[in-house]
């Protein structure tokens, strides 16, 4: 207790951080740049938000770099210049994301009410007020479409990843190339393929299962690639330890490698689901649409969120367009929640 007496008067400090005075100067330059940019917009040919932003960035960069140059010389001036440019780039990236979110939330919340999530549109016309009808059928449809696609593509995707990381056979290179190429296939191609291969010649009718097949084609490469990366992170020590204990390769993979990679594999699956949840083109072609609950994935058109959104916009009445925005909001929230879950599993340490 008393030993601390000898250190009296010494407080923890952070001399490497900017002092209050420096921070104040930076804020001052920031405000001055805004004011100056406003002046530039008033007197020169630059105008609007974009002109304001461009002149602000230019002035702010110039003053800050000049200040660093006078204080520390050219090396740190360049450093400060690049720092600001990186910050500007980040800001520019955020603009579209934030404005999309803002737009969807501000236009979408009006159509939301409890029944919106449970009712369907079978008894409603596009002109009906916003407190009638709903997208329950579309949520159910999306759930059915995604679930079937999940059941098909998760085993195939993970087995492909296991082939690429564990078996490493002669076909590893071409298969890895094909998987990477497939992840760039436009969704309409998958849709048209199922359309011409199954719908026209065989079923001749829309059904959810056909939509799911097309979605599975899109989901397999995402699952396989992510799972491959995750499995590659599992240290080889563990595989050797398993084999050295008398396990066959299959038992070592099943008992040690896959459990160690479990959280990453769950992330791979969720990313795959997020990839297909909003796919529109193949669903329009194959699952059709419909405005009522359809519980049978094997026959008849099935609604889905992307179709609901597309159809509501197409109807064009103010109520209908408001419903479309609400549908977008629901879809975005679902995808965001999926990504959040994926992040949660992805951030957990391997094995625990």
């Amino acid at each position: 207790m008393t030993t601390t007496n000898s250190y009296q008067g010494i407080k923890p400090q952070r001399p490497w951080q900017a002092s209050t005075k420096d921070k104040a100067i930076t804020v001052g330059i920031f405000l001055f740049s805004i004011a100056f940019a406003y002046g530039v917009v008033l007197v020169s040919g630059l105008n609007g938000k974009l002109g304001m932003f461009a002149s602000f960035v230019f002035i702010f960069v110039a003053i800050n770099s000049g200040r660093s140059y006078l204080q520390f010389g050219s090396a740190l001036a360049k450093d400060s210049l690049v720092n600001i440019l990186v910050a500007v780039g980040t800001f520019l990236t955020l603009i579209p994301i934030v404005s999309i979110l803002f737009e969807v939330f501000s236009k979408g919340y009006k159509g939301l009410y409890l029944g919106f999530f449970t009712r369907d549109m079978s008894l409603n016309s596009p002109n009906d007020p916003l407190n009638t009808g709903g997208l329950g059928h579309a949520i159910l449809g999306t759930l059915i479409l995604v679930s079937i696609a999940l059941v098909i593509s998760v085993p195939i995707g993970i087995l492909t990843a296991l082939y690429l990381t564990e078996i490493k056979g002669n076909f590893t290179r071409p298969i890895r190339f094909l998987v990477q190429a497939m992840s760039g296939v436009p969704s309409i191609v998958a849709g048209l393929f199922i359309l011409s291969a199954i719908l026209y010649p065989i079923t001749k009718n829309n059904s959810a299962i056909l939509g799911s097949l097309a979605l599975a084609i899109l989901m397999i490469p995402t699952v396989a690639r992510t799972a491959e990366e995750v499995l590659n992170l599992i240290p080889n020590d563990l595989r050797e330890a398993g084999v050295a204990l008398g396990g066959t390769q299959w038992r070592t993979v099943a008992m040690i490698v896959v459990p160690a990679a479990k959280s990453g594999l769950i992330t791979a699956v969720i990313l795959g689901v997020a990839r297909i949840a909003g796919e529109t083109a193949p669903i329009l072609l194959l699952a059709g649409g419909g405005d009522r609950y359809n519980y049978n994935p094997l026959s008849g058109p099935m609604g889905s969120l992307p179709h609901f959104i597309w159809n509501s916009f197409k109807n064009g009445t103010p109520e209908s367009i408001a419903r479309a925005w609400s549908g977008l909001l629901v879809l975005l929230v679902i995808v965001f929640v999926l990504f959040a879950i994926a992040r949660f599993f992805g951030n957990r340490k391997v094995g625990k």
Partner: protein
């Protein structure tokens, strides 16, 4: 070769060797040996190993008698680890690897095409340089994982679990938290967990590839005690960079060296002789610390 070395040997006796080495080496005594479970030892005959075109190990013949501890010493890159990995067929996991020669266990070549390699690895267990407990398993599950991997049956898992952990010198530290994850242990405890894990399938031979190189001196001491206890019931081969360790734990020592070409086994002898009266000049230089 032996005749011309005899003269050297006599001279060597008067030579002063590092006292720590000679004193512990001479104390490595023969133990009471339980012969029924540990087979007849392991024998390497003319083993070569390659990685691609790189000839890493040339013509190593060594006899590991049942119930003995043999240390493999030598500078880095001399093929000790490569050699020990040929002894339980872990060498073949490296894609470009190749080998020649025979490794005889119970009178049969383990590289014979009719041999089930998973059975071989059950009989010849391995402990690796870096502790590698299975991260998805608890401490208890880790110890018993070999049974599950090899689909072996056992009457009483709890007894086996306790027996293995006691033998590995870990029981007292973990008996109250067998359901904790293996990763929650310290490095030395993890390595002893890995030893317990390899004991659970009851191997005749235990290969240890620098098992203490990642550990602190205290943990190293515990593992050396464990080796001492285990050697009454199995054959142990240990690769080590630490000559004091070789002197402390082993009955026999084999010295490996590469003179730019493939690694070779220079000489093998009872440990106290290797350190007190090495027959080969190169061995003498190495064990007296003149190089390497």
């Amino acid at each position: 070769m032996t005749t011309e070395n005899n003269g050297d040997q006599e001279k060597m006796e008067t030579k002063t060797t590092p006292s720590s080495l000679s004193s512990v080496a001479s104390s490595s005594k023969r133990k009471v040996v339980n012969t029924k479970a540990m087979g007849t030892g392991l024998e390497a005959r003319g083993v070569h190993a390659w990685f691609g075109n790189h000839h890493a190990l040339a013509d190593v013949s060594l006899d590991f008698a049942a119930g003995t501890v043999t240390a493999l010493i030598g500078p880095s890159g001399c093929g000790k680890s490569t050699f020990i990995r040929t002894l339980n067929r872990m060498h073949e996991f490296i894609p470009s690897a190749a080998m020649a020669g025979q490794v005889i266990l119970d009178g049969k070549d383990i590289y014979d095409p009719s041999v089930d390699v998973t059975k071989i690895r059950l009989q010849i267990g391995m402990v690796f340089q870096k502790p590698n407990p299975f991260p998805s398993m608890t401490i208890g599950e880790n110890v018993l994982s070999g049974l599950k991997l090899a689909q072996l049956k056992t009457e009483n898992k709890d007894d086996l679990l306790e027996e293995c952990l006691v033998k590995a010198g870990l029981w007292n530290e973990v008996k109250d938290r067998l359901n904790a994850h293996g990763g929650s242990l310290s490095g030395g405890q993890q390595q002893r967990l890995c030893i317990a894990r390899s004991l659970a399938v009851r191997p005749q031979v235990l290969l240890m590839d620098e098992p203490c190189s990642a550990l602190d001196p205290g943990s190293t001491l515990r593992i050396e005690e464990t080796i001492e206890e285990l050697s009454s019931s199995m054959t142990i081969v240990i690769v080590t960079h630490n000559m004091q360790q070789a002197a402390r734990v082993s009955d026999y020592t084999a010295f490996f060296l590469s003179d730019g070409g493939p690694g070779q086994m220079i000489e093998m002898a009872p440990t106290n002789e290797i350190f007190a009266r090495p027959r080969d000049k190169r061995t003498e230089n190495y064990v007296t610390g003149r190089f390497g």
